[in-house]
C-alpha cells in the first residue's frame, strides 16, 4: 500500500510541481501550428484596422473640420474622477474614469477624449474636471481656453494636474 501510494505521490509531484500537466506531443504540435496561423491572422486584422481607421477619419472627421482633445495626467498625486468638455458652450464629452483607465493615464498614457468637427475660426473650449486629492479632499475645477481652428486638423493636449494651491491645474498645448 505504502509503495503504491508513494509511487502515485512521486508521479504527482513531478507532474504538478515541476512540469505542469501538458497536452501530448501531437496536441503540442497542433497548438503550435495554430499559433503560427493565429499570428498571421492577427497581422491581417491589424492591417485592416489601420486602413479602416484612416477611412473612418476621412469620412467622419475631415481634416478641415477635425478637432481632437487628448487628456493626460502629470503624476499619480491625485485621483481623477471625471472630465467634461464644452465647445462653444455645447457639451461634447463627459467621461468618468475607471481605476484601470486612471492607472493607464498615470503610467504615461494619453487618452483621446473627444474627436469631432468644428468650422474654421475661433472657438471656446471649456474644461471641467473633478477628483480627489491625496489628503482625501474632493475638488472640482474648470478653465476656459480659446483655440483657432484652421484647415489643418486641430489637436489639443490637456494636462490635468491636481487642483490645489501649488498646482497649475489645467494646461493646454496645441499640437
Amino acid at each position: 500500500m505504502l509503495q503504491s501510494i508513494r509511487a502515485a505521490f512521486c508521479g504527482f509531484l513531478l507532474s504538478v510541481c515541476f512540469t505542469g500537466v501538458s497536452a501530448d506531443e501531437l496536441s503540442q504540435q497542433q497548438m503550435r501550428s495554430l499559433d503560427e496561423q493565429v499570428q498571421e491572422v492577427k497581422t491581417d486584422v491589424l492591417s485592416i484596422a489601420a486602413d479602416l481607421g484612416r477611412l473612418e477619419e476621412r469620412l467622419l472627421y475631415p481634416s478641415n473640420t477635425q478637432v481632437a482633445v487628448f487628456v493626460s495626467v502629470p503624476d499619480g498625486t491625485y485621483r481623477l474622477d471625471s472630465v467634461q468638455l464644452e465647445i462653444d458652450g455645447e457639451p461634447v464629452a463627459h467621461y468618468i474614469y475607471s481605476f484601470k483607465e486612471l492607472e493607464a493615464l498615470q503610467n504615461g498614457g494619453v487618452q483621446r477624449l473627444y474627436t469631432g468637427n468644428v468650422p474654421t475660426g475661433q472657438h471656446n473650449l471649456n474644461v471641467t474636471y473633478s477628483g480627489k486629492l491625496e489628503n482625501g479632499k474632493e475638488f472640482s475645477s474648470s478653465d476656459q481656453f480659446v483655440f483657432d481652428k484652421t484647415v489643418r486638423p486641430k489637436m489639443l493636449g490637456l494636462t490635468l494636474a491636481a487642483a490645489n494651491s501649488g498646482s497649475k491645474g489645467i494646461q493646454i498645448k496645441d499640437w
Binding site: M1, L2, I5, A8, F9, F12, L13, L14, V16, C17, F18, T19, G20, V21, S22, S27, Q28, Q30, M31, L34, D35, E36, Q37, V38, Q39, V41, K42, T43, D44, V45, L46, I48, A50, D51, L52, G53, R54, L55, E56, R58, P62, N64, F70, S72, P74, D75, E101, E103, A104, L105, Q106, N107, G108, G109, V110, Q111, R112, G157, K173, W175
Partner: protein
C-alpha cells in the same frame, strides 16, 4: 525540456517586463498607444502605434515630427506590444529592424537583449545566445542584470550549468531579481552536481526576505524543492524542516503538506504524518494532492493501528472519489456539449486578471473544476489565449461589417443632399469668379500705376473725375477758339489759359497729398482683397470637402468589406480548430484524472475491507483476552 529548464522559465516569466512607467507627455498618438497598452488592450495599442510609425517614416522631414525624439522608444514599444499580444514573429522582426538600423550602441544592445528574450521564450536557445553575443560596449544600466540573468538561464537551458553558476554567483546583489537569482543559482548548482552547495543555496533562497507575492512564491518553491530532495535522499527530518517553511495559503501549500506527511511516514512518525494530511484531506476535493491525502491519511491511521478510524476515512475517501467521478463525468459531458468554450469567452468573467481562478469557482461551469493544472500549462495557455484573441478579433470584424452598412448610408445621404445643390452653387460661383477676376486685374493695374508714379510723378493720373471733365472742357474750348481765331478772341484765350493754369496748378500742387491718399486707399483695397481671397480659398476647400464627403468611397469600402469578410472566414475557421483542440486536450486530461480516481477507488475499497478485518480481529482479540 529538462525539469530544471522549466523551473527557470517559470521564474523568468514571473520577472517579465511590466507596462511602461514613463509619465512624460510625449507624442499624442504614442501616448494614446501607451494608454491602451497599459490597460492590456494590446490590439488597440498596436493599431495606433503602427499608424503613427508608418506616418513618421513617410514624412520628408522626420525631425519636425513630434514623435522624432521618442522614435526609438516607439520602435521598442511596438515589439513589446507585439510580444504581449503573442505575435512573436512580428516582434522578432521589429526588434531585428532596430538592431540592424542606424542606432546608437545603447539602443542596439537593448534590442539585442529583447531579441534574445524572445528566442529564449520560444525555446530557441542557440539563437538567444547569438543575440546576447551581439551585446557589446555601453549597456543601459536598467537592464544590465537582466541581461546576465537571461544569459545564465540560456546556459542552463543549453545544459551548461557551470557557466550559469558563475554568472548567477556574481549577480546576487540585485534587489528586484533577488529571489529568482537565488533560486536559479540553487537549481544551477544542482544541475552542476554540486549538491551540498546547491542545498545551502536553496536553503538561503528559502529564507529570503520577501515582500511581493512573486517573491513569496519563489521562496515557497525553493523550500518545496529542497524539502522534496531531502525526502528523496532519506533526510526526513531536514525535509520536514524545509517543507514546514512553505506557506499554508500559497500556491505550493498542498504539495508541501503532502510531502511533509510522507517525510514523517518515512521516518516512521505516523502520528506526525496525520497532521499535514489531515489538513490537506479537508481541502478542495478536486485537488490532486488533496485526493491523495484522502488515501494517505487513513493509511497513517492503519499504521498507528487505529483501524476503526482508518476504515472510517477510507470509507469517506471512497464517497468523495465517487462524487468526484460524477463531477468528472459531468465535466466531460459539458465540454462535449461545447459549454467549456462558451464559459471561456464570457465577457464578465474576464474582467480581472484572475479570471481563470474565478471561472473555476462558478457553479455553472463544472467543466473547469479539474482543469486548473491544465490551464496553467504553457501550451494550453497559449491555445486558450489564442482562442480568446480570436474571439476578440471575430467581434471586431463583425462590428466592422455592420459599420460598412452605416458608411454606405452616410455616403448615400450626403450624395442625395449635395448632388442637386452643387450644380446651382457651381453656376453662381462661376459668375462671381469672373467678376472677381476682373476686379483683381483692376487692382493689379492700380498697383502698377502706383509703382510707376513712385519713380516718375504723373499728377494728371491723380486728377479727380470733375477735374478731368473740366480739363477736357477747357481743352475743347481752347481748340475751338484756335480753329476759328479772330483778333478779339485773345481775351477769351487768355481766360481759358488762366482757368487751365489754375486747374493744373491745383493738380500739381496737391499731387503728393493725393498720392498719399491713393496709396492709403490702395492699401485698404489690398486688405479687402486678402479677405476676399481667403474666403475664395475657403469656399474652394468647402466645395472640395462637399465632393469628397461622398465621392471616392465606393471602391475602398468595397475592398475593405471583402478583406473583412475574408478575415472573418479565416478567424471562424481557426476558432473552430483551436476550440476543438482545446476541448480534446481538456477531455483527455479529465479522462486521465478519472482513470486515476478509479485506481484510487479500487485501492480504497481494498484498504477499507482490510481495515474492517483488522478492526474486527482486534476487537475479537480484545474479547478473547
Amino acid at each position: 525540456m529538462s525539469r530544471c529548464a522549466l523551473l527557470i522559465f517559470a521564474a523568468a516569466s514571473l520577472a517579465a517586463a511590466e507596462p511602461s512607467q514613463s509619465q512624460e507627455l510625449t507624442d499624442l498618438y504614442f501616448g494614446e498607444a501607451k494608454y491602451f497598452a497599459n490597460q492590456g488592450l494590446n490590439f488597440e495599442a498596436l493599431e495606433r502605434l503602427d499608424i503613427e510609425l508608418a506616418q513618421h517614416r513617410a514624412i520628408d522631414e522626420p525631425q519636425l515630427d513630434s514623435l522624432y525624439p521618442y522614435v526609438d522608444d516607439a520602435e521598442f514599444s511596438v515589439g513589446d506590444f507585439e510580444l504581449r499580444y503573442r505575435m512573436h514573429h512580428r516582434a522578432g522582426r521589429a526588434i531585428r529592424a532596430v538592431l540592424e538600423g542606424d542606432v546608437d550602441e545603447v539602443v542596439r544592445n537593448e534590442a539585442a537583449y529583447r531579441l534574445a528574450k524572445i528566442h529564449f521564450q520560444k525555446g530557441q536557445y542557440s539563437e538567444a545566445m547569438s543575440a546576447l553575443a551581439r551585446i557589446n560596449g555601453e549597456v543601459p544600466k536598467a537592464i544590465r542584470d537582466d541581461i546576465e540573468f537571461l544569459r545564465a538561464n540560456v546556459y542552463l537551458a543549453m545544459g551548461e550549468p557551470e557557466r550559469a553558476v558563475d554568472i548567477l554567483g556574481d549577480l546576487q546583489s540585485d534587489d528586484d531579481l533577488d529571489g529568482f537569482i537565488a533560486y536559479n543559482l540553487g537549481i544551477a548548482l544542482l544541475e552542476a552536481e554540486q549538491f551540498e552547495q546547491a542545498y545551502r543555496q536553496l536553503d538561503a533562497a528559502g529564507r529570503i526576505k520577501a515582500v511581493s507575492e512573486a517573491e513569496k512564491s519563489i521562496r515557497d518553491k525553493s523550500n518545496l524543492v529542497l524539502g522534496t530532495i531531502m525526502l528523496e535522499t532519506g533526510r526526513y527530518a531536514e525535509s520536514r524542516q524545509y517543507l514546514d517553511r512553505v506557506r499554508l495559503d500559497g500556491p505550493f501549500a498542498n504539495q508541501a503538506l503532502l510531502s511533509a506527511g510522507w517525510a514523517s511516514m518515512s521516518a516512521e512518525q505516523f502520528d506526525r504524518a496525520t497532521v499535514p494530511w489531515g489538513i490537506l484531506a479537508g481541502r478542495d476535493s478536486t485537488d490532486f494532492a488533496a485526493q491523495e491525502a484522502m488515501l494517505a491519511l487513513p493509511y497513517a491511521y492503519s499504521r498507528l493501528n487505529v483501524h476503526g478510524r482508518a476504515a472510517e476515512n477510507f470509507g469517506r475517501a471512497l464517497d468523495e472519489f465517487g462524487a468526484e467521478v460524477g463531477k468528472l463525468d459531468a465535466s466531460i459531458e459539458s465540454i462535449r456539449e461545447g459549454k467549456f468554450l462558451t464559459a471561456l469567452i464570457r465577457e464578465e468573467i474576464r474582467q480581472d486578471k484572475s479570471w481563470v481562478i474565478r471561472l473555476r469557482s462558478l457553479p455553472e461551469t463544472p467543466e473547469t473544476y479539474y482543469l486548473m493544472e491544465l490551464l496553467a500549462s504553457h501550451d494550453f495557455q497559449t491555445g486558450l489565449q489564442n482562442y480568446l484573441d480570436l474571439e476578440e478579433l471575430r467581434k471586431k470584424l463583425v462590428a466592422w461589417q455592420r459599420n460598412f452598412d452605416a458608411f454606405d448610408d452616410m455616403v448615400a445621404i450626403r450624395e442625395e443632399h449635395y448632388e442637386p445643390l452643387l450644380p446651382v452653387v457651381d453656376s453662381e460661383f462661376r459668375g462671381l469668379d469672373s467678376r472677381m477676376k476682373v476686379r483683381l486685374e483692376q487692382h493689379k493695374l492700380l498697383e502698377q500705376r502706383l509703382q510707376a508714379m513712385l519713380t516718375a510723378p504723373q499728377p494728371e493720373f491723380l486728377a479727380t473725375r470733375e477735374e478731368q471733365q473740366m480739363l477736357a472742357s477747357i481743352e475743347r474750348i481752347e481748340s475751338q477758339l484756335r480753329e476759328g481765331y479772330e483778333a478779339n478772341d485773345s481775351d477769351l484765350l487768355e481766360r481759358v489759359a488762366r482757368l487751365k493754369g489754375r486747374l493744373i496748378w491745383d493738380i500739381h500742387t496737391d499731387y503728393y497729398k493725393r498720392l498719399d491718399a491713393f496709396d492709403s486707399h490702395l492699401r485698404e483695397l489690398r486688405a479687402a482683397i486678402d479677405v476676399l481671397e481667403t474666403q475664395y480659398q475657403q469656399y474652394v476647400r468647402v466645395r472640395q470637402a462637399a465632393s469628397h464627403s461622398y465621392q471616392g468611397y465606393l471602391e475602398p469600402v468595397t475592398r475593405m468589406r471583402t478583406r473583412v469578410r475574408e478575415s472573418l472566414d479565416k478567424v471562424n475557421t481557426l476558432m473552430a480548430r483551436q476550440g476543438r483542440l482545446l476541448e480534446v486536450v481538456a477531455i483527455d486530461e479529465l479522462v486521465a484524472r478519472r482513470q486515476r480516481l478509479d485506481q484510487y477507488m479500487e485501492k480504497a475499497r481494498y484498504a477499507l475491507a482490510n481495515s474492517y478485518d483488522r478492526a474486527t480481529q482486534a476487537r475479537l482479540e480484545g474479547v478473547a483476552e
